[in-house]
Amino acid sequence: MRFFEHIGKYLFLLRKIFSKPERFKIFMKQVLQEIELLGLNSIGLVVIISLFSGAVITLQLGYNMDNPFLPSYLIGMGNRETMLLEFSSTILCLILTGKIGSQVASEIGSMRVTEQIDSLEMMGINSANYLILPKVVAVLLILPLLSIVSAFLGIAGGLVAGPLAGVVKIADYIEGITFVFKPFYVFFAVVKTFVFSFIMVTISSYFGYNVEGGALEVGKASTNAVVTSSIFILIFDLILTQLLLQ
């Protein structure tokens, strides 16, 4: 029963978020700020996890494919497909949810418990629209880009680590990453990231926006935001994979 209450309140919040901003100039300024805060500040994390994961996946593919009948270019291809199909969208978003989701939930939550949200409402400002819409727009703009960057870096990680560890020759790896390349998979990664970004930022905002109590509850809300966003990202991963790849 609580579940349906949450869904109802979540949809209600979405309706509040998606209305016309009070001042377009201020809105644009906020979007740029959020792009920096939520997007650009995540680049370091994305670079590190993508490079290393691409490297590790390449090594594991190499060590598990010692059958001489399997051509070694499959290693490069395998890494490319893993990156595009799952890592650079789903896994990346799950990791970023830990950072962005908790940040969003705690920022909005602490504004709630210190009456800053009441303060906005009291001025006649739609607080959900003012606080959350810039975050949604920023994340939807920047995370799909980060996803593509992540796929490139993951493939690059394999390119460096594979030959260094001796599991694949550079030429074979490069042949692999270009072998029957389906551009549709890039589109697939971008669509998934787009949906997951929306889930992450709106669910986290929901938890922050509806905090009741004090600092302790803000902490709990931030944890709940990350857990719930992650679950929904996985559910939608299943749905989108079925819908787009069948």
Partner: protein, 248 residues
């Protein structure tokens, strides 16, 4: 003038305030007093429209809050300045930007005019050298004063202050009280202040509303308050040794 008639509010089936009626006049400072948990904040937030009243009527100079649509309520809110119990300054904005915020949102005037207005409001609350500081860098008393500056930025007709001087030393508390009372008289604002500070009652209370367990227990002037026969009010006012001795 704000007139409230028989207003009530409950949360989750629990009645918090009920049957409260009163009037609040222009250019006067009205105090709502009562114990912690008696429902002062809920009453103030209900009058302001932040909480929707379950029953009763609230009129702002003849305009009924209950009959307003969303757009009209939004316009009314621009006539209301509110100082929240904790100050509620935006902690990502500097002091000057906090005061400027409502101007940026609702005023179509030049940069220079906005800057002048910010300076005027901050000067009015005696904050001079803190324009670029952030709320976290201010003392509690300064935060309250900046909150007052922000509340008066748009020249409000109505000013609501929730315990503007709680947690402050007696000297600063009186400074803030007097500040609000002065601004109220100067600009003919209808001001309602929540407090449980007896100093405020004696200093600036032109009309006092005593809330006890969610209903209006007593109403009168600050002179009448000391000679009241009302038992609940008496035990509220004369609860400390100091005030009890003063009475003798």
């Amino acid at each position: 003038m704000i007139a409230i008639n028989n207003i009530g509010k409950s949360f989750g089936g629990k009645q918090i305030i009920s049957g409260i009626s009163s009037t609040f006049e222009n250019g006067k400072t009205h105090l709502i007093i009562g114990q912690s948990g008696s429902g002062k904040t809920v009453l103030l937030k209900t009058i302001s429209g932040l909480y929707q009243a379950d029953s009763g009527a609230i009129d702002f100079d003849g305009r009924s809050l209950m009959d307003m649509n969303q757009k009209e309520q939004k316009l009314l809110r621009q006539e209301i300045g509110m100082v929240f119990q904790g100050g509620a300054l935006f902690d990502s904005l500097s002091v000057a930007d906090n005061v400027r915020f409502p101007l940026d949102m609702f005023w179509d005037v030049s940069e220079a005019e906005k800057r002048d207005r910010v300076d005027f409001c901050l000067e009015r609350v005696k904050i001079v050298d803190a324009h670029n500081k952030f709320p976290a860098e201010l003392s509690g008393g300064m935060q309250k004063r900046v909150a007052i500056a922000r509340a008066i930025a748009l020249n409000p007709k109505y000013l609501f202050c929730d315990e503007p001087n709680s947690g402050l030393d007696p000297v600063t508390a009186i400074v803030i009280d007097n500040l609000i009372a002065e601004i109220t008289a100067e600009f003919g604002i209808t001001t309602i202040i929540n407090t449980h500070d007896m100093n405020s009652v004696m200093e600036i209370g032109e009309k006092i509303l005593f809330i006890h367990k969610g209903h209006k227990e007593w109403e009168g002037s600050s002179k009448e308050v000391l000679n009241t026969e009302n038992e609940a009010l008496n035990s509220f006012i004369f609860s400390s040794k100091l005030t009890a001795q003063l009475k003798k």
